[in-house]
Amino acid sequence: MKKFITMGLLAVAILGGATSVQAEEVCTVADGVKTEKKISIADGFKKLGRETGIYRFFNPPTKEEKVVAYQAALKKTVEAEISAGHFHGAYEQIHKAHGIDESTLELLKLQVQAAEKKGYEPPLQLPEGLGQFIMILVGLGLIYLAIAKGFEPLLLLPIGFGAILTNIPMAGISAGPMPGQPAGFLYYFYTIGVESGVFPLLIFMGVGAMTDFGPLLANPKTALLGAAAQFGIFIALLGAMACGGMFSMQDAAAIGIIGGADGPTAIFLASRLSPNLLGAIAVAAYSYMALVPIIQPPIMRLLTTKEERAIEMKQLRHVSKTEKIVFPLLVLVLCLLLLPSATPLIGMLMLGNLMKESCVVDRLSDTAQNSLINIVTIMLGLAVGSKLAADKFLNIQTIGILVLGLAAFIIGTAAGLLLAKLMNKICKDKVNPLIGSAGVSAVPMAARVANKVGLEANPQNFLLMHAMGPNVAGVIGSAVAAGVLLALVG
């Protein structure tokens, strides 16, 4: 904030003819745009409230709000270009802007000029060649984990391969276009599929078409466990904020979502909030999802007694077809009324599920679950891998991401378990606390882990179907959390 005013004044001073009116305008623009940075809880809820569907049905955005939003987006983009040293790109953004008064554009230009004058000093980095070499080893490592250790191979194999391809010197496989030359092909996969949000959303649609919300519908209260497990997201966010300025608020939010244990949600949010960290975040998310059978059991044994683990739950009731068909629409309507920013994710998940449950578009549902999701998975994996460039991955931040991601998984697991124990204190129908750990999502691995640990304590204790309730609720829960983060820091 201070930096910006200084820069603005500097710019004004440079041009010589600065009047106090102009200087005031700088502040006004800055205020209009940057005040969002310091929010109180009340402000945050108020902001969320102003972005609910319910509110907006009665108070559609005014012309002024739209202009302010456009200006804020423009300013943020110009600043991002400046701080990356792309002065030409900053000018281009200003040049393309429209529907804004000239003085605002003029001020932005001054800002770029001042920054250009000061010059851009790139951060210290590994020598490029060494960095590429190491990243190729990282890519080979991911492929090894995928094949030999079975770590989420559907994603980690293409991601690892993408990392290798991206870091090949001179090949420019994910480089942008040059005059008269096409860009590298991974550049297209990334910009067309990931930057646009299309690939993660299509994957989410396929996941929806594969998911059965029946267990959740049969025992709705287990949804609370899926809520509790999102605690890991926000603790990791808090941890990232505590790293002494290493991460911006956007970065912190993107890191936190690792705790959602849900690949497409993590990629979607990271591509919007913190594209530079996308590679590391996706790798962390999928790696820990693969490690769920190793991470969760010790926590589960630590926080529960053998008796608790042996609790047998009563059989789930039958859920009618109609309920299952209505459910996706119910969730979508709830989401659009309360949290429109989550509707791309929730909407596509529910579209997939509606296609499956309605039984009238089986051929579309089959395709969404098979050829479409497979095609997109290959391209998404390669595109995510293309973000594993040395300068984005080989730094202290990645270690922070890995540590915070692990913490998020652990805390999410613990929160789910503890809420389940608390529910047992309150409700009469006993819940086996192990199914609380399935609330982190990582569908369906976490539910299987709950089942396995439950069987150890009581060989008659089949928890799988019970754990699927919190498991799928956790998917909704982390999409909701992503929506909140998009609305507040996006």
């Binding site: 945050g44 949804a223 808090l238 939010a253 009618s320 909140v484």
Partner: protein, 74 residues
């Protein structure tokens, strides 16, 4: 420190929203379950399955048509 406070703010708002959303969803699911069990006679399981009959997949349709043609010819 101020940054940390922002994190706490996000956490409070975020967890509150997640819980609020899922609590509302539980209420909605319970209502939906109550509604459909009360009016179960209006939504027989068969009805839903029968629905697509009206607008089925063109391939299947054409396949039927062709089968008929072949049957007649053969």
């Amino acid at each position: 420190m101020e940054l940390l406070m922002q994190g706490v703010v996000l956490m409070v708002i975020g967890m509150a929203t997640v819980f609020a959303f899922l609590v509302l969803l539980i209420i909605a699911m319970n209502s939906s379950s109550a509604f459909f069990s009360k009016f179960a006679h209006l939504f027989p399981e068969e009805e839903v399955k029968a629905a697509p009959a009206g607008g089925t997949d063109p391939t299947a349709e054409i396949a039927v048509a062709l089968a008929a043609i072949r049957a007649k010819r053969g």
